[in-house]
Amino acid sequence: MVKEITEIRNDFPLLSRKVYDKPLVYFDNGATTQKPQCVLDAVKEVYTTYNGNIHRGVHAMSDRTSEAYENARETVRAFLNASAKEEIIFTSGTTGSINSIAFSFGERFVRPGDEIILSTLEHHANIVPWQMMCERKGAVLKIIPVNDNGEILIGEYKKLLSGKTRIVAVSHASNALGVVLPVKEIIESAHSLGIPVLVDGAQGIQHGVVDVSSIDCDFYAFSGHKIYGPTGIGVLYGKQKWLEELPPWQGGGDMVERVTFEKTTYNQLPFKFEAGTMNYAGAIGLAKALDYVASTGREEIAWRESILLDYATELLSGIPKVRIYGNSEKKISTISFLIDDIHQYDTGMILDKMGIAVRTGNHCAQPVMDRLGISGTVRASMCFYNTTDEINLLGTGIEKVISMFS
């Protein structure tokens, strides 16, 4: 059953609120998404009916929570179409996932002179952890260039691949521009040389069907709060063959098999990578969010978002003073733009007072801003619960900004 838009919006309590006495137009979904009632209920249910620490107690509460937590892992596995639950590690979010892999992978596989390939489009969370690891290990970063539309130059990427390359880490879609990267082709080329690939899925997972077995990535990282789940929970998918090889990034409870002061042996996957009390309420909430997305229909969500993107692109392109950054065929429902020579901060401030929430600035992606020769943009990141009426309000807002600053 396809849901009507009013029905979808009713699922998200926050969407009906007002700001400055105006209906909220929430176009900052790239930063974080709002939560459906079922997710809020699921988290509340943990704390009101069965809260107990996971994998520890002999009592009913602990058992029930552990079961719900492990069921959540299975939900994530199925959502990603991973081959085994052992490949799903819960983390604090995309940043946590990438930092962990950069650390462990670096410890195990990276030697002085080795190379790590990233793209110009990366979010700082997919740059800095690798840079820190390179400093520790004496390795160097190699960067895939992009054209003026923010599309990576795949030919240049292939030239960067060599016997020195240890890993490739690229985003599924650019958070700053919305441009989707050809991850399948990137992965195929890397694999032809036996090089693993990490995909930063922070802006990918929520916008369509992501099948890790089909794209064949070695690692996939994403955040719960960007796919209608709670904050503070994220996922690292890793192929079992890699996760078996990698050392743990944190030590503590639950990740161990046997501890003596002389030597500690580690627990099996996935627990080896889950030290300490995990954010189980977050994981359970995330599973509910994934269920919600699946029941709404991932194809349906992608279709709705493509209509919004087309509508917004046409509307904004029709305003003579607006320049869109990231004009590409394949995009998520994110539009990055500037108006004339009006500073993005001024635009954002005015839109905010009209009830329209956008993000302004460099979007934690300074290298791509530098590449485009700008200090930042205004970013409207839409998702399936947004409407064309809201895009019209954005259009009106932009006209207002132009009248105030030009």
């Binding site: 009006i342 500073h343 901060y345 200090s375």
Partner: protein, 151 residues
């Protein structure tokens, strides 16, 4: 006018407007009257970098009062800077250090000066006070030096 009288007059000026857009229009106009920093001073050293907008600030101390000139790449930020300069510029270091900037709160621009808004404004206020402290220490140093010489 003393500093608080200026703050009060700003509060009065903004109280004439209920609508946010009118307040912003006023800020944009005020920004146009900002005593602009000379381009030779618009360097890395005078830049206060925020995540959202940039602010350049330059102090001149004549031994008694500090005069500030500034600029920003965003118009609204420029408007707020012009208000800060109206209140704090042309004052002695002691006055600048001691003054409490209550007008920001009263005209509803507090969110623009909160630590979570990384537009460089909070850093700018801090920087203005730091300059004042440095100049005060410097003048105090001179005084002591003079006293020492007298003795």
């Amino acid at each position: 006018m003393d500093m608080n009288e200026i703050q009060d007059s700003i509060i009065e000026e903004f109280s004439l407007f209920d609508d946010w857009m009118d307040k912003y229009n006023l800020l944009i106009d005020l920004g146009k009257g900002l005593p602009l920093i000379e381009s030779k001073f618009k360097t890395k050293d005078s830049l206060i970098e925020g995540c959202q907008s940039k602010v350049w600030l330059h102090p001149e101390f004549d031994g008694r009062i500090i005069s500030f000139t500034a600029d920003s790449d965003a118009m609204i930020t420029k408007g707020i800077i012009s208000l800060l300069i109206k209140v704090l510029s042309g004052r002695t270091p002691r006055e600048i250090i001691a003054t409490e900037l209550y007008f920001i709160d009263r005209i509803g621009l507090r969110q623009n000066l909160s630590p979570t808004r990384s537009n460089g404004l909070l850093a700018m206020v801090r920087q203005m006070k730091l300059y004042a402290m440095a100049y005060q220490a410097q003048s105090a140093g001179h005084a002591t030096q003079e006293q020492i010489e007298k003795n």
